[in-house]
């Protein structure tokens, strides 16, 4: 019997949102696990640090500055990945978030705020999946990991925009897993809970962050490393029969 492992040796992976936080951690971890990595994020300068870190450890990596809400730029990201590596095995859609616009009561929600959050968190997933899916359906293989949030299942006051977009990502994923299973493409979701990234700690006070952490059954906030374990599982052959699932990584039930 072959014992499953989390190796990504020889696999080509695109990671969006990889300039910081969870995306950066996943890009570094995937490279360490043997994957060639395509880094995508808006700010070219921030990607360069990750590129040099991965390269210095002997990993293969390219950076393609990309606004994932722009279909032309997303197509270019896929072209660059193919030019460098010839195929795409894994797509990790980490790009998203709400930053300082996370909590807006609906009566104060301007249309441009609504559009920008829904575009960044839901439309980006559609654009990236479609562009990469053109390659994966040809290859007849691939694993896509979308990022959702507990806010997509549990109502959080002030998060109609973000919560609805993330709930949309969850269901988009289940539909696409059903649609593309015949091409041997798996589509799954990781739904992180409270993770101690710089940006999470930026917009929540440390007292409040501690209070949130204590209420979690496992008694602590998560680290980006905790997300890496789930991402390696879903990207690797260890999950070859797993598709259309939502894996909450939050120290307790969602």
């Amino acid at each position: 019997m072959d014992v499953p492992d989390l190796s990504l040796k020889g696999k080509i992976a695109i990671v969006t949102g990889s300039s910081k936080g969870i995306g950066k951690k996943l890009a570094e971890g995937f490279a360490e696990a043997g994957a060639s990595v395509v880094l995508a994020a808006r700010t070219a300068s921030k990607l360069e640090t990750t590129v040099s870190e991965i390269t210095s450890r002997g990993g293969k990596v390219i950076a393609v500055p990309t606004d994932v809400t722009d279909s032309t730029q997303v197509s270019r990201m896929v072209e660059k990945a193919l030019e460098s590596f010839g195929r795409i095995d894994v797509l990790v859609n980490v790009a998203g978030g709400a930053g300082r616009d996370a909590f807006i009561p609906l009566l104060e929600m301007e249309e441009d705020k609504w559009d920008s959050i829904v575009d960044l968190n839901l439309k980006s997933v559609y654009l990236c999946c479609r562009a990469v899916g053109r390659v994966m359906t040809e290859q007849k293989s691939g694993s896509i990991i979308n990022f959702s949030s507990g806010a997509g299942t549990r109502p959080v006051v002030g998060e109609t925009h973000y919560g609805a977009a993330k709930a949309g990502v969850n269901h988009f994923t289940r539909v696409l897993a059903t649609e593309w299973g015949r091409y041997n493409i798996r589509v799954n979701v990781i739904s992180p809970g409270l993770i101690a990234t710089e940006s999470a700690q930026e917009w929540v006070s440390s007292d409040l962050f501690e209070k949130f952490a204590k209420a979690i059954p496992l008694g602590r906030a998560g680290q980006p490393e905790d997300i890496l374990g789930a991402a390696l599982f879903l990207a690797s052959e260890a999950s070859a029969f797993v598709s259309g699932v939502i894996i909450p990584v939050g120290g307790g039930p969602e």
């Binding site: 019997m1 014992v3 499953p4 492992d5 989390l6 570094e28 971890g29 360490e32 696990a33 450890r57 289940r174 897993a177 059903t178 649609e179 593309w180 299973g181 015949r182 041997n184 798996r186 979690i216 059954p217 496992l218 008694g219 998560g222 680290q223 490393e225 905790d226 890496l228 374990g229 789930a230 390696l232 599982f233 690797s236 052959e237 260890a238 999950s239 070859a240 029969f241 797993v242 598709s243 259309g244 699932v245 894996i247 909450p248 990584v249 939050g250 120290g251 307790g252 039930p253 969602e254």
Partner: protein
């Protein structure tokens, strides 16, 4: 960078329902991956054959014939495990199923049939969780994986009772995760789709299986070994921040 540890090497693992089917495959897989395994089921001869196979491959196995609905037998099983291996790191709770009761339509089901299903698929899960968690809470660590079923979420005509019980197992899993999280004891479930064990293959026949497989997004029914990756993931430290989740292992949404 240290990658998340997916290994179960050295993790003392109790497997219930280890004589056949999914439990048997998981027991062999974990042993192959270096875990000392405790084989639990009612039929001694089948357990001993499995233990011989594991030992011949250089693995460690302890046979403890146990009826998992008998509390005193479970406590003895736990004691024997501690005497032999000193601790319990993982419980894979696979025992369950419907056997021949499966083909009885709900309208014809006798009370004794109902009681048997209830004892085998729900009471046993609670008793095993409780008996093992007493040790894990003391140790301040442990990972429990309950095997649920797709029938806990998908409505299947002949599985009104078993499906209801599996849905209850899902909810019990989540609540136990909340209860035991503070002791660093994680409780998760895997929900397999139809799995081609020897018994299922005989019961369904090749024609039905082929037809059924076409309705699964990944276009194949599970082999028992397909659940090994998910079980190792939830048992290992790669999922250290995951508790209270139900992970489908079914080839896509159904």
């Amino acid at each position: 960078m240290n990658l998340p540890n997916f290994s179960v090497e050295g993790k003392v693992t109790i497997v219930t329902g280890a004589s056949r089917g999914i439990g048997n495959a998981l027991a062999k897989g974990f042993a192959e991956a270096g875990a000392p395994v405790v084989l639990v089921a009612r039929t001694v001869s089948e357990l001993e054959a499995t233990a011989e196979e594991i030992t011949a491959n250089g693995g460690k196995a302890l046979v403890v014939p146990t009826d998992v609905i008998q509390r005193d037998q479970l406590n003895k099983m736990v004691q024997k495990t501690i005497i032999e291996f000193g601790r319990i790191d993982v419980l894979l709770n696979v025992a369950g199923g419907a056997g021949d009761i499966y083909v009885i339509p709900p309208i014809q089901m006798l009370e004794e049939n109902y009681d048997e299903l209830h004892e085998r698929n729900y009471k046993s899960v609670f008793l095993c969780n409780q008996a093992v968690a007493k040790v894990m809470i003391e140790q301040q660590h442990g990972s429990i994986v309950n095997i649920s079923s797709l029938s806990g979420t998908k409505a299947v005509a002949l599985e009104a009772v078993v499906g209801g019980l599996k849905a209850a197992v899902n909810q019990m899993t989540k609540a136990l995760a909340v209860s035991w999280g503070p002791y660093n004891v994680r409780v998760n479930a895997i929900a397999p789709g139809i799995t081609l064990t020897e018994r299922v293959k005989k019961k369904l026949g090749p024609e039905f299986i082929e037809q059924f497989s076409e309705s699964i997004p990944l276009r194949k029914a599970a082999e028992p070994e397909d659940h090994l990756g998910p079980a190792m993931f939830l048992a290992s430290d790669a999922s250290a921040y995951i508790t209270g989740i139900v992970l489908p292992s079914d080839g896509g949404p159904q």
